[in-house]
Point group: C2
Chain length 249, copies 2
DNA sequence: AAATACTGGTTCAAATATTGAACCTCAAGG
DNA sequence: CCTTGAGGTTCAATATTTGAACCAGTATTT
């Protein structure tokens, strides 16, 4: 792996932590030499991607991504365009809705609208969604070209809960159903107690670039209701794509 | 410079462009070899920091920073905390207000609230603010430890308009006034037709970490009014710091 | 329609940056 | 006051990066 790749992986690692981390711990966690980790950190800090606490000498995610995100969103206002659809869907379904975007080989949550209900599903903003174990991931995978699906299912599928489909064949069945219906349903595949329905957001070329998902507590999630929610999510996802790509070539 | 630094500089360069760019152009602009630029781009793309248009093969800023920005803002909700103050100040002053944060050696705009007036100053979101030529930069510089001010003024000061103070001595005078008043005023130092007043946002340790600036068209900007606006900006900046650092150690 | 001048992308020996064990200093704990 | 682990640094050995030259393809120009 190139130096750049290693440094960006280190940045990823830091981003996943929710508290500051010291040099030695970071070197251990990243399996990099202490001297190497430090050189990377210094370089990342020079560019604002990492910040070192003056006092504790520990490191954390810096502010530079905020500026880059702003520029990205000015040119591709995906979140801004999708937000009203997400909100409307959250109100209509009465459940937490989250939007994810594919980037850097991963599907990451980029917007969340909480349900108004007291008993609701909490979604981490910035969380990375596994392709085979979440409704969003299945919705995304299902509409990918066959070759890419194969590659995604070639490596071992991690188990997140007792209900995770870790068998490639089982996942393929879920994907077939997803393509037929236009939306996916994941029953506690990622987290116990949560059932989700999700629809892909497709580029004009028909390629998925993200997903829109509704997450409900099992207590409120009978299948008839989830299917209805799935249809609504699919309609909203189409609406987002139309509006987002409407003003472009 | 390390490979990482070069790659991040390349990313910076891409971020400054407001349209996609081809490999050859990018290699020229960055003064990197084409092969090198390409390797960097591939690596940056693998991590989502850069995106290649499937069709045109041109490159652009990717979506990864959006996720990182989200995580950063979840832990350090600087923009979220400051936004109400920015909005209130924009209404009170009747002018465009922008918030900047120091990161990666630069002061970057991270939030803008436009004035309600038809004739108003437009601020680029994501723009980098030169220290010696903007009110925000002066407010930031003025409260830095002397040694760091010296370093900032040691290199040649770029001229942005006919009114830019490019002489270190002249800048030092502006900085002295800024410290005395608690806010800076820049008269068309960055852009002709714009007068700004800005106040630093200080950490509990007394170190500046950003600035709050009000930008008015010269037509509406007599000095008495700018001083009044400056005082209001200083008060708002203190309010932001208090609220932002209030809940921390 | 042939020639030219660009693209984006690739190759591989030469040049250079990266690596990491050992080292330093300092602070906290036993 | 000795040990441990912290952050940080050094420099010879080493692995990676570099870039001139090379494709193949596509607009432009002649």
């Amino acid at each position: 792996m190139s130096t750049i790749g290693k440094a960006l992986s280190l940045l990823d690692l830091i981003s996943e932590l929710d508290k500051d981390i010291g040099l030695s711990d970071l070197a251990r966690l990243s399996a990099l030499d202490k001297a190497t980790a430090r050189r990377f950190l210094v370089e990342l800090e020079r560019h604002g991607f990492v910040e070192q606490d003056e006092e504790t000498r520990r490191y954390r995610l810096g502010a530079a991504p905020v500026r880059l995100a702003r520029l990205r969103q000015a040119r591709f206002p995906f979140v801004a365009v999708a937000a009203p659809f997400v909100k409307a869907l959250a109100e209509e379904a009465g459940e937490t809705v989250h939007l994810s975007e594919f980037s850097g080989g991963r599907l990451s949550t980029i917007h969340v609208e909480d349900s108004a209900q007291a008993h609701r599903v909490i979604v981490d903003p910035g969380a990375v969604l596994p392709f085979h174990a979440t409704a969003s991931g299945l919705a995304y995978l299902a509409f990918l070209p066959p070759g890419e699906i194969d590659r995604a299912l070639a490596r071992p599928l991690e188990r997140f809960s007792a209900h995770t489909a870790t068998d490639a064949g089982a996942v393929r069945t879920l994907l077939r159903e997803t393509v037929e219906r236009g939306y996916s349903i994941s029953q506690q595949g990622f987290e116990i107690g949560v059932i989700s329905a999700a629809a892909p957001i497709l580029t004009p070329g028909g390629r998925p670039m993200g997903a829109l998902a509704v997450a409900a507590p099992t207590a409120r999630a009978d299948m008839a209701r989830m299917h209805e929610i799935g249809r609504k999510a699919a309609a909203a996802a189409r609406g987002i794509a139309e509006k987002y790509y409407g003003g472009r070539t």
